[in-house]
Amino acid sequence: MKRVYVNEDWCLGCHLCEYNCAFANSGEKDMALALKGKPLNPRIRVEGDGSITYAVSCRHCKDPLCLRSCISGALHRENGAVCIDHSKCVGCLTCVLVCPYGAVLPGPDGAAMKCELCLQNACGEPACAAGCPNRAIVYEEREEAEA
């Protein structure tokens, strides 16, 4: 399965992935309309300090703790990707409690929020990787990950 991978040596800390993610998931056609003056709610987050930066988003684990721990059955798999059914999410954030990467986030509507690989939005493939200027974020299949 293709996943999002991050190489921190190449990350410029430009935060473009956050903007592209928020835009892709906004449902809007125009980036300015989607983001200007509004709180940004990206599902990928750049972390780091003055010298190191890297982006963190859902790892789509082979055995996801979040999915196993979901109290309402909202977290499920679609073609390998771990997705949230918002009509079922009760916002208890047990997924945030158990995710070892801090990759599931409290969302703006009270429900949990996470990377769904842009498979449910118009982008069709991860906008973070597609727009990363330095290829610090890639979307690809890695053999060792499937082993």
């Binding site: 190489n7 921190e8 972390e47 208890c92 409690l97 009270g110």
Partner: protein, 353 residues
């Protein structure tokens, strides 16, 4: 309302006998006797009987006409039907269940009062600093709290309180807690402590009998002792572990711990593990975070307010990660992957676990 899709059991080749009680287990004959008198033979049996609400005897309890628990969907629906915008609700118990019930009733009822013998709300999970934030938030949202105070006697629609006050109410909810449902195991001659003791493979002491979920008592990785770890994540992993082993596979679940995530009127609260030695504390008007460690590993935490990425702390407890390998200072204020160092990070973000 269903957790699984409707076709789940059919797809999995599982036969479910709804509305059917298992009355007794005969471990010698390896049979389960159902309430209809029918018997079912088994090679491997798993007890997943969950828990039941606990209710101490209050004097005069039988004089209360409208009294409810808040455990099952049926309880919730019956309660909802009994409440109108004029109803005065009294909830006994300011733990998770009582407060969640109060939150749900706030907009449906005329008034909601919650009392608890403990001096703080969510006493089992929070200390005074943390619950003070929660209590202020609950009161701001229209709940009346009576803490360090409980009912001594009911008299119809009146509750006589320990401090001499009386509370008039129309609907009473008892939310004092739940206890493991262990009747079947005890009846079969199996050992029962607070719950049914199981090992890391979810085996009970009785041959051919396994147990999983809220009815069990199992290893708590954060303190090394057995405890009732009655939340869904633990139940889910225990069930899977039992199932694999019952089918002849090999599985262990040895990373269970007490953990909770809950929110009331938009304020989030998380807690996990065992509160040993306080290593970090941050308390403001609206936020509280406390971290606990012993023997060089994180053993527990409580957070009120910003719960983002708290799972990183949970993982440190689960994996018993030596704190000396981490940049502790960076981790304390805000959990992130930064304190793990480049090599671990490359594994986490470049590979798949």
């Amino acid at each position: 309302m269903s957790w699984r899709g409707e076709d789940f059991y059919a797809r999995m080749g599982v036969r479910v006998l709804h509305a059917m009680e298992a009355e007794r287990v005969d471990p010698e004959a390896r049979r389960v006797i159902l309430s209809t008198g029918e018997t079912l033979g088994y090679d491997a049996l798993c007890l997943c009987t969950g828990s039941h609400p606990f209710s101490p005897r209050f004097e005069g309890m039988e004089t209360v006409e409208q009294r409810f628990f808040f455990t099952t969907l049926a309880d919730a629906l019956a309660l909802e039907a009994a409440v109108t915008p004029e109803t005065r609700v009294l909830i006994v118990g300011a733990g998770f269940i009582g407060l969640k019930c109060a939150e749900g009733l706030r907009d449906r009822a005329g008034s909601v009062t919650v009392c608890d013998l403990a001096a703080h709300a969510m006493n089992a999970n929070l200390d005074g600093d943390a619950s003070a934030i929660l209590e202020r938030h609950l009161e701001k949202n229209g709940l009346r709290l009576m803490l360090g105070n409980t009912v001594t006697r009911f008299e119809g629609d009146k509750a006589h309180m320990q401090n001499g006050e009386t509370v008039d109410f129309d609907v009473l909810v008892i939310a004092i807690g739940v206890r493991p449902e262990t009747t079947l195991c005890a009846g079969a001659g199996g050992k029962v402590n607070r719950g049914i003791p199981v090992n890391e493979r979810m085996e009970t002491a009785l041959p051919g009998i396994w147990a999983a979920g809220d009815c069990t008592e199992s290893l708590d990785v954060s303190c090394g002792e057995a405890g009732v770890l009655a939340v869904l994540p633990n139940a889910s992993f225990q069930g899977r572990t039992a199932g694999k082993n019952m089918a002849g596979g090999e599985a262990v679940f040895d990373t269970g711990m007490k953990m909770n995530s809950i929110g009331f009127f938009g304020l989030h609260i998380m807690s996990a593990g065992t509160y040993t030695d306080l290593i970090y504390s941050e308390v403001t008007e609206t936020d509280c975070k406390k971290l606990f460690a012993r023997d060089g590993v994180l053993t527990g935490y409580m957070i009120v307010g910003d719960v983002s990425r708290a799972g990183i702390y949970t993982a440190l407890i689960r994996n018993k990660t030596p704190l000396e390998e981490l940049d502790l200072e960076a981790l304390e204020h805000e959990p992130s992957l930064l304190p793990f160092g480049k090599v671990s990070r490359a594994k986490m973000l470049g590979g798949v676990v």
